[in-house]
């Protein structure tokens, strides 16, 4: 190991963390050449592939490596939170109608293709412009772009670095949700913890909001597949030996490293465009049910699978590093120039989706994240139970009915979607949040309660 591993956790979360390979995986990350500071693990850490999910690692731009597995197969998987002009009491009576409409309008993409038809040239533009291309082409409002991390597009994306296979997988999937842990949830604000930040984000108690969790779909998955294979072929040439081939990496300054980063940025831009498309279809669904006066504003859009070039104070020196966030969310504190002007005085909004049927959280970035975690916090509740274990002895109809009895409507396109994501398959999101709040990495702003969920 070239550096320490630091895990942020409570004692009981630590007891869970020790039951899988996640700490070992964080130790493997600590062996990567050019790592700066410790290999970090957030309280929602769980076993992933190569990197643990909930892992953060910063790499020196000259001496360090980039690892496609350190970003993950779902490049720029992320969350956007949308506020509505509606109250829980207005949506409640028409919730079933609403969720059925959203389920029709927002494709999951498991069995069907998406509703945004684009040709190869248009895909090139999407890969460069991200969310802005969607808005220019009628899938959103100009302010949506302003309220996305990095303005909904990373510079330095190169469509030529994205393989034909990746393009072929991704092109028909633009504007689709995906399956696995991806979902769309109608929620209401249960409790405000930070009135000033809540006001800045336009949140008030009982207000209905919608959380969208999705990523770069098949395009990003194929980009990662292609570059893990390429890095595996070439690691020997750079004298890199690692305990896990899924950690395959190449020097940031190498041709492979540069090419991966150009493809990763293109896939990240595709993901922002994808979430933008979903938001557009969501707006249409709300207006079909509640009329044109139902207005949906994007609060913010954060990514939690990404590698980004950022500057931090490390041991008294300002350093440029490549921060890998694998299941970790950027959490910049107030005053940071990358935060939209409307939020700059309070800090960057951070969204932490909990499991289906429990709760999600809005946080705001705090100074501790800049000092300790390369501006990062957790990204979710973190899985507790395998997908197979979650399904054991259960059937989807009974579980859907139980959730409905608890006041939560669920729709799913895949047979296994509901069972695998049941609330008890996850850690307690409140405990995860308590850790980052007390550690001073981010502060609690609002707790959100689910009303209806669409699973891929």
């Amino acid at each position: 190991m070239r550096t320490d591993v630091v895990v942020y956790a409570s004692q009981s979360l630590m007891d869970h963390i020790r039951t899988d390979l996640s700490v070992q995986q964080a130790m493997n990350v600590a062996m990567l050449p050019g790592i700066v500071g410790p290999s970090l693990a957030m309280p929602d850490i769980h076993q992933g592939y190569g990197f643990p999910i909930g892992g953060v690692a910063a790499m020196d731009m000259e001496e360090g490596v980039v690892s496609p597995g350190g970003v993950g197969f779902d490049i720029n998987c992320g969350v956007r939170l949308v506020r509505t002009t509606l109250q829980e009491s207005e949506v409640g009576p028409r919730l079933r109608e609403l969720i059925n409409q959203i389920f029709r309008d927002v494709p999951c993409g498991a069995g069907t293709t998406g509703r945004v038809a684009i040709n190869q040239k248009q895909l090139d533009r999407v890969l460069v412009q991200g969310a802005a291309w969607m808005v220019e082409n009628g899938y959103g409002e100009p302010r949506d772009v302003e309220f996305a991390e990095a303005g909904g597009a990373l510079p330095g994306a190169d469509p030529c670095a994205v393989s034909e296979r990746a393009r072929e997988r991704g092109r028909p999937q633009l504007g689709t949700l995906g399956s696995g842990n991806h979902f769309l949830e109608v929620q209401f604000v249960e409790q405000i913890h930070h009135p000033k930040a809540a006001q800045a984000f336009g949140l008030r108690e009982k207000q209905v909001v919608v959380l969208i969790h999705s990523g770069s779909r098949g395009l990003g998955h194929q980009v990662c597949t292609d570059y893990v294979a390429l890095m595996n072929q070439n690691m020997v040439r750079y004298g890199i030996r690692l305990p896990d081939r899924q950690l395959a990496c190449g020097p940031i300054a190498s041709e492979e490293g540069g090419s991966y980063l150009a493809a990763m940025r293109a896939a990240a831009n595709f993901a922002w465009a994808n979430r933008q498309g979903i938001l557009h279809f969501l707006r249409e669904a709300f207006q079909r049910i509640f009329g044109k006066e139902a207005h949906l504003d994007l609060i913010y859009d954060v990514c939690h699978n990404i590698a980004k070039q950022e500057r931090y104070e490390v041991e008294g020196h300002r350093r440029e590093v490549l921060v890998h966030r694998k299941g970790a969310t950027r959490a910049f504190p107030s005053g940071h120039r990358e935060i939209p002007a409307a939020y700059r005085s309070v800090g960057q909004p951070v969204f932490i989706p909990g499991s289906m049927g429990t709760a999600s959280w809005v946080l705001v970035g705090a100074p501790g994240a800049m000092q300790e975690t390369f501006g990062s916090v957790c990204h979710g509740a973190g899985r507790l139970m395998s997908r197979t274990a979650a399904k054991r002895g259960r059937d989807a109809k009974t579980e859907t009915r139980k959730l409905e009895e608890a006041g939560i409507l669920v729709r799913s396109e895949t047979r296994d979607g509901i069972l695998e994501e049941l609330p008890d398959a996850y850690k307690d999101v409140d405990e995860v949040i308590e850790v980052v709040h007390r550690a001073g990495l981010a502060h609690k702003v609002a707790r959100l309660r689910p009303m209806a969920v669409i699973k891929g």
Binding site: G111, L384, S386
Partner: protein, 162 residues
Amino acid sequence: MQAGPGRLRRRLIGTLFVIFEAVPNSPFEILEHPADIGFRAFGKTLAELFENAAVALVSIADEIEDVVPREPYPLEAAAGDVESLLVAWLSEVLYWFDGKRVAFRTFRVSEIGPKRITAVGMGEPRDAERHHPRLIIKAVTWHQLRITESHGQWIAEVYLDV
């Protein structure tokens, strides 16, 4: 709804497949992972191992008993060693499933060495009306990837990102 002969046939094949899965010589079994899913595939030869690994992959993605194996699709992959070849082969199948939108039922390897495989997948174009997706598989990983051979029994363990 009345079951037509084609539907009955598919149901019967589906039932046979389930019985086949339950016997000790099943082509594969599911492995648990905290966040994702894996499988352990078996084969008497390397070719059969790769065929069964592909069946495992598509069975996790789709209800394969609904797929009619009416069209042949040529598949191939190449890599530096046999483990890499398995990842490349399964990634090839996943690409045809997700990118070319082909639902597979069976696989037949025509030629295999430690660095190259050519095969034919039997299936049909994916049809949202007839085919029922189970999970969207994002990718094939290297996590704890293992291929072993002992007394004529090949075993592979593979984890998928879903």
